[in-house]
């Protein structure tokens, strides 16, 4: 598993994907937090990273899909999947190696935003400070959310040998689970059904964790979500055996 993990990390660094992803993420969140008029921290005058945590899920839909789009589809296109799967490693450890590499890259992308937090701490009213719990919770939620996106992305990339197709499938699925399902809860006509569908959305649990109250149900939801998509990925990956 770690051999695959190392190879993936190297390929992220070698192909500049890593730098692009980190650069784009920091640039966009930075723009929204400090520069674009209206909602930025200085205009609002509230010492919190809420602006970033609101915008990040949408940026990550694109970036995480871009990270994972090639992981399996490229192996299929090149035919190297045949070498990989005939080595003495299980299919599951190949998938986990690739998955964990994607998650590691995302966590690494989020790290520099701690600098934003430091800035906000310095700007905050010394008497009130910042809401440490909510910030920690939001980071934790964001990582779980991105890890869920990564499991969707890996699944999408197991379906095709075309990276672009994989990217689009992944983005659509991510948007569905994050955005569409949670919107259903707002539709009055759907009433209770909409509310229960909303419970299945990633957004619902992301918001819940972001409040800074760690509810095990939310954590279980995320881990279940990831496990489900990794399971589906394994099935698609082993479709050659059918």
């Amino acid at each position: 598993m770690w051999e695959v993990f190392k190879k993936e990390i190297r390929s992220f660094l070698g192909s500049f994907i890593a730098y692009i992803v980190m650069g784009v993420f920091l640039a966009i969140t930075g723009l929204f937090m400090w520069i674009i008029k209206g909602n930025n921290v200085l205009d609002l005058g509230v010492a919190s990273l809420q602006v970033m945590f609101n915008i990040a899920p949408y940026i990550l839909i694109f970036l995480v899909s871009a990270i994972t789009m090639r992981s399996l589809s490229e192996e299929r296109r090149l035919g190297t999947i045949e070498i990989l799967t005939t080595r003495p490693v299980s299919d599951l450890s190949i998938l986990l190696g690739k998955y964990l590499a994607a998650v590691a890259l995302i966590v690494f992308t989020l790290l520099p935003t701690l600098f934003y937090y430091y800035t906000i701490q310095q700007l905050a009213d010394p008497l009130q400070g910042t809401d440490v719990g909510a910030t920690m919770g939001s980071y934790f939620g964001l990582i779980l959310l991105a890890a869920s996106y990564a499991s969707i992305g890996l699944f999408a990339s197991s379906l095709t040998d075309n990276q672009i197709v994989s990217l689009i499938i992944s983005m659509v699925l991510c948007f569905f689970w994050y955005g569409v399902l949670s919107l259903l809860g707002d539709i009055k006509a759907l009433d209770a059904i909409g509310k229960s569908l909303e419970w299945f959305s990633l957004d619902f649990h992301y918001q819940s964790i972001s409040r800074g109250v760690l509810d095990t149900r939310d954590v279980i939801y995320f881990f279940g979500f990831i496990a489900t998509f990794l399971g589906a990925t394994k099935m698609a990956f082993e479709s050659r055996k059918w």
Partner: protein
């Protein structure tokens, strides 16, 4: 027996690719797996390396069952798939170290040096795979297959698409390997077999039509060339 195959069949949907083939290869033999395109050579090799399962029948490598002890078998087998798939953006050493690691080799550095030596990759070793000529890429593929010092080598058309000089070089590499390993290599070129193998398994439409030593095959019709024997045994298939 290094490789033992019993009544192996493979169906792709409705199409029967392998029709109950059986053969066994003792250790140290270099066997040419011969047949027209679509005869089932690659399918057999994919099954023996564990890439796809057989529909029925069983096979073993060095006495280990292909399905029950799959991971153990894979440690003993080196595999060069058809078309020699490679990561073009990796450096040779980087790729071979990865291949060694994933094959479970403890001392990957030593394995790397051994593989580079065996395949004479030395002069090009600091290049990216994408920059290499086809002949050198083929050597990288071979190096990948033998990096963990496997007992059995399965090579699917190792010389296809190479120029005559490269063909001779690759043949020499394989011939040298054959002195200590069991090699099963597929080809549809007769001279290939004459140059490298002590035994031929001829397969056509998923069935074995001849399994003999090179001499034995020649003796079946002494006046004909090997090419003609090959054509006679497989000619009732529509040519592609």
């Amino acid at each position: 027996m290094s490789i033992q195959v019993n009544n192996l069949s493979k169906k792709y949907g409705q199409q029967l690719a392998l029709d109950s083939i059986s053969f066994s290869i003792p250790s140290g033999e270099v066997v040419g797996f011969l047949g027209p395109n679509g005869a089932g050579k690659s399918t057999t090799m994919k099954i023996i390396t564990g890439y796809i399962p057989a529909t029925s029948g069983d096979a073993s490598v060095c006495g280990l069952d292909l399905v029950e002890q799959s991971l153990e078998v894979r440690k003993l087998v080196g595999y060069l798939p058809e078309h020699n798939p490679l990561y073009l953006d990796m450096y040779i050493a980087e790729y071979l170290l990865f291949a060694a690691g994933i094959a479970g080799v403890k001392n990957t550095k030593k394995a790397l040096e051994m593989a580079i030596e065996l395949t004479q990759l030395g002069p090009e070793r600091n290049k990216k795979i994408g920059q290499l000529s086809k002949g050198y890429r083929q050597r990288v593929g071979l190096a990948q297959a033998l990096i963990h010092d496997p007992k059995v080598l399965i090579l699917d058309e190792p010389t296809s698409g190479l120029d005559p000089n490269q063909v001779v070089e690759i043949r020499n590499v394989i011939k040298n390997l054959g002195s200590e390993k069991t090699v099963l290599l597929s080809t549809h070129i007769m001279q290939e077999v004459e140059a490298m193998c002590n035994r031929v398994i001829l397969i056509n439409k998923g069935k074995i039509v001849a399994d003999d030593s090179l001499e034995g095959l020649k003796n079946t019709s002494p006046t004909d060339s090997l090419e003609t024997i090959f054509r006679n045994l497989t000619s009732h298939v529509g040519s592609i």
